[in-house]
């Protein structure tokens, strides 16, 4: 190790503020990007479920209408 103790490593010869600020903000920015990607996927999954429910509703409605039309035809 280039430092004698952890305190010295954090102090970075007086440049600790600059070194840790640049590392911290950089890792945070990259973390935000990763999390945003994961959230996007979650949102897409929710949209897929919605889309499926919409399709099912539509299918049910069509079936009902077909049944009603058949009844009318029979009368």
């Amino acid at each position: 190790m280039a430092f004698d103790s952890w305190q010295e490593a954090i102090w970075m010869g007086g440049y600790g503020f600059y070194v840790w600020l640049s590392f911290g903000v950089s890792l945070l920015a990259i973390a935000i990007l990763v999390v945003h990607g994961l959230l996007t996927r979650k949102k897409l999954a929710a949209m897929a479920v919605q889309e499926q429910q919409r399709k099912q509703r539509l299918a049910r409605r069509q079936q009902q209408e077909r049944a009603q039309r058949k009844e009318k035809g029979a009368q």
């Binding site: 970075m12 903000v25 935000i32 990607g37 996007t40 897409l44 999954a45």
Partner: protein, 250 residues
Amino acid sequence: MWKWLHPYAKGEATYRLLGAWLPWLSALAALFVAVGLGWGLFYAPPDYQQGDSYRIIFIHVPAAMFSMGAYTGMAIAALIALVWQIRTAEWAIAAIAPVGAVLTFVALFTGAVWGKPMWGTWWEWDARLTSELILLFLYIGVLALYYAFNDARTGAKAAAILALVGVVNVPIIHFSVYWWNSLHQGATITKFEKPSMPVEMLTPLLISIAGFLFLTAALVTQRLRNEILKQELHRPWAQQQLGVEAEHGV
């Protein structure tokens, strides 16, 4: 000869291929970035002039390299999208731009924070810094154009044209330190002579650069997969991928 490429013009094949890569890329990125940055922060010797402040280099240089690398990749995708009208290439533009923008931001931010103690200023309107800032604006412009139109394909085309025109900025960034007087130092590694860095510093830097290469690839892969799913959301295979059972016989 190039026929094996054809299925990847389709979303599903590309999605599956990227899915096979993603865990490997992520693991390699985490490993190399952790080793490279940890080594650089704690084990590399201090610089004889800059002391410990120079340790910012281990994040600054890789981020700057791949901010330009990602742009070049995006421009190639844009060319493919414009010439061969391949939709996967259009989506790649939207996947690369945010990653490139964040890398550019990281390069600019770490540069500013390094510049303050070493040059005495956070920012200077010199060629290297200004051209890198323009790179950030290009990324943002490409993203804005991509999403600015009601018709997604029109947006993709507009974004592709900007991405392609903007690629002229990449060599300008690279050579700016030679073409103009600059506060910024010249190339350390990417020159034909021996790199002007001792091996104790160069090794962690190269590991970190490899880490950022994998990181960039992993982030782009993640976003491209999302973009493919978004565009093909109505298709059964995409719904299945998102955990919805495909409908049969309705």
